[in-house]
Subunit: 233 residues, 4 copies
């Protein structure tokens, strides 16, 4: 079942390796079949170099395995929370990419310092609060999803399709599994640029609002004029 989506999810997972976002079995990408509310996700702890499209696991909105020979990613519950809350997203990714983890461990948002950031994220990429001991012990992965949703609040999740979870690492999402990986790669790159800028000039200030507006809007929305018309991730 869902052969096409399995292939997309598989390829998006392999792209994480290709782009240097993961080592060993780290990271996981999922995709969703909205019609049937079924999520296809990477199996837990399987090496990328032996993984095949048919190893992807199909789970329902309760996290129960519908099809698959493996256990799904241990972070599956987090992915499902995001799919339930954000009907526009078609793919979710979690990595431990170095620069995004740096901000997660520092407990800091990735600030919007320039146009590279503004081209993809309409403002700072937020950092969640600490989870409480109770939240961690009772339902860790579910509550990781919940704290992401709490942090985003009433903002449009497609305007800043990424977040860092405190002391943990980045999650990103997109219209498709491949789109979520694209956003995760760009997040890590803007995190790298922000780290280097902030250590070079500790008094740096954010990009001006109208420059942020200009760059974001020339790539996104009704009046976008970057690209050939299909650049949205």
């Amino acid at each position: 079942m869902l052969e096409q989506l399995k292939r997309e999810v598989y390829e998006a997972n392999m792209e994480l390796v290709e782009k240097g976002m993961v080592i060993y079995t780290w990271g996981n990408v999922s995709g969703i079949d909205r019609e049937n509310s079924l999520v296809v996700i990477k199996p837990s702890g399987v090496d990328y170099d032996v993984m095949k499209p048919e190893d992807m696991v199909v789970v329902d909105f309760d996290g129960k395995v519908v099809e698959g020979n493996y256990k799904p990613s241990s972070d599956t519950a987090t992915h499902i929370v995001l799919y339930k809350n954000y009907p526009d997203i078609g793919g979710v990714v979690h990595t431990h990419s170095t620069w995004a983890v740096t901000f997660a461990q520092a407990g800091m948002p990735i600030p919007a310092l320039g146009t590279t950031h503004a081209d993809y994220f309409y403002g700072d990429i937020p950092c969640t609060r600490d989870l409480t001991q109770q939240e961690i012990e009772e339902a860790y992965e579910l509550n990781t999803g919940n704290v992401i949703v709490e942090t985003i609040g009433t903002c449009n999740p497609m305007a800043i399709p990424a977040i860092v979870v405190k002391n943990h690492g980045p999650f990103a999402w997109g219209k498709t599994p491949a789109g979520s990986v694209y956003n995760a790669v760009v997040m890590d790159k803007v995190a790298e640029m922000a780290y280097k800028t902030m250590t070079l000039n500790p008094n740096v200030s954010r990009v001006q609002q109208f420059l942020l507006d200009k760059h974001y809007n020339r790539k996104h929305g009704a009046n976008a004029y970057y690209g050939q018309g299909s650049e949205e991730h």
Copy 2:
């Protein structure tokens, strides 16, 4: 038309990927046919791995497409300003290369700290001022070109063939499209060296003027003695 120039511009764009200056569709290189005042530039938002020489877009000095199946780079107006103001340049490049962006976001020039810098740039690589809200909203890409020209002022644009645009990123130029990319790669490398030097020794001072003179002049100008006689970019 302009098949040879299209190939040069295509190859210079691909060199950006080869040298690690860009990811995804970032960056753009152009070249100029001075006789006809026609600029050949990368199409906007097209993936490097599918791009072909014939996809390059030909525009006139008003930015109007003369030939091509794609929309030209969204930064085309900036390139044209540079060609109009600097008759000696044959190629222009814009990237979001990490180290140069670091200085752009920090709002700082890339200081001339050593001979690696002096071999190519006769002094600091400047950083532009902020654009005003009006400049951004009325004609962003045109005014990006204008603020570059304003910053360079009466200096010789070939003596320091690069700049960082504040909160945005680097532009570089050269005698040819390939030469502009060469200068962009060296700019990023000297930016990297400057960052590391400044974070290791915050009290660092600039290279002595006579050492800067010596290195710049042994590679450039009438009495140059580096190389076999054809090293100018």
Copy 3:
């Protein structure tokens, strides 16, 4: 003799090159045949690109060569101390990987700042004290092993299977030679993340104890639920 173990040790040594942990002849991995108390280790100073499985050297618990055409690694005595003291380990590795050496030279433990760390190391990766002049001059490699054992004290060596030796570099261990290399690679990655976090935010605090517990325990021990059941290194 011990052909299978020699191959495992050889492959684990080559993995150090593959993962960028060593240059030239740096680094060494060993494995142990517990039944006969024989250690198989990389020969000293042999280039990785000419090394073959049969070049691995077999030594006994006194460090005497039992079989082999080469001298064993100069760090052999350190490996033996670890095997003698920790009956659960099957492989030991020493490298000069950059990020772990950074903490060794700084004389600082690699602090547990996030879940990437907690997934593999149940707390800070410790840094040993300085060896005394007498310890260095009398039996340097033996005493390097001894100071590691002294630093770990009564802790479980498998809970934090790695250490940095002050002003020197990292040692790691695992259930197998390959497992020890795995732990050395992860140590270097979490050291990189810790360095970047601490230079971005000098006031950073450690990951909360209950988040450390959660991540460590979901991958290790009786109630682990990460992976397909065979992820222990």
Copy 4:
């Protein structure tokens, strides 16, 4: 003439590219035929990917070209000063490798902070003083050699076979052209480790003298016990 030495010098130059020490035409390696006091050196400004062994240039101790179709490296005079002053060296290399340049631009020696450094360099890798305007204008490359010799003074040049020239970059030497490149690569690696250590812990102190002695002496000299007996570079 000197076909064997030309090949060695050529291969040592290509090794600079392989090891990431140079980009474009940067860097140069030479070797010497002591019997005839002839130096073989890379041609100036020739691309590595078209360079051939027969392009190496033969010069005498006055820097005059004895054989070759190209002009020799612009740094030839510096190499010759080193060969004249240090009869034990058989190869010299100059690069603009990033980490060593960082210390050159910072005007700081590369401090001996750990055993990685001590394995190859018996103490800090020194940084020269500024050249005077007169020294630069009258005979720049010759005086670069002279200031290196002045800085090393009465020390044994083989005990610390490398230096950084202030605001310029590293020079290294060795028993052979390949050995000089080996030392240049290790210098850049220990410079990287020193930078990271010093930015992590600004109060770091040098490796203890007896640990420096131990590591240096286990690899070098009469009582060395690292390797199989031929590790000297």
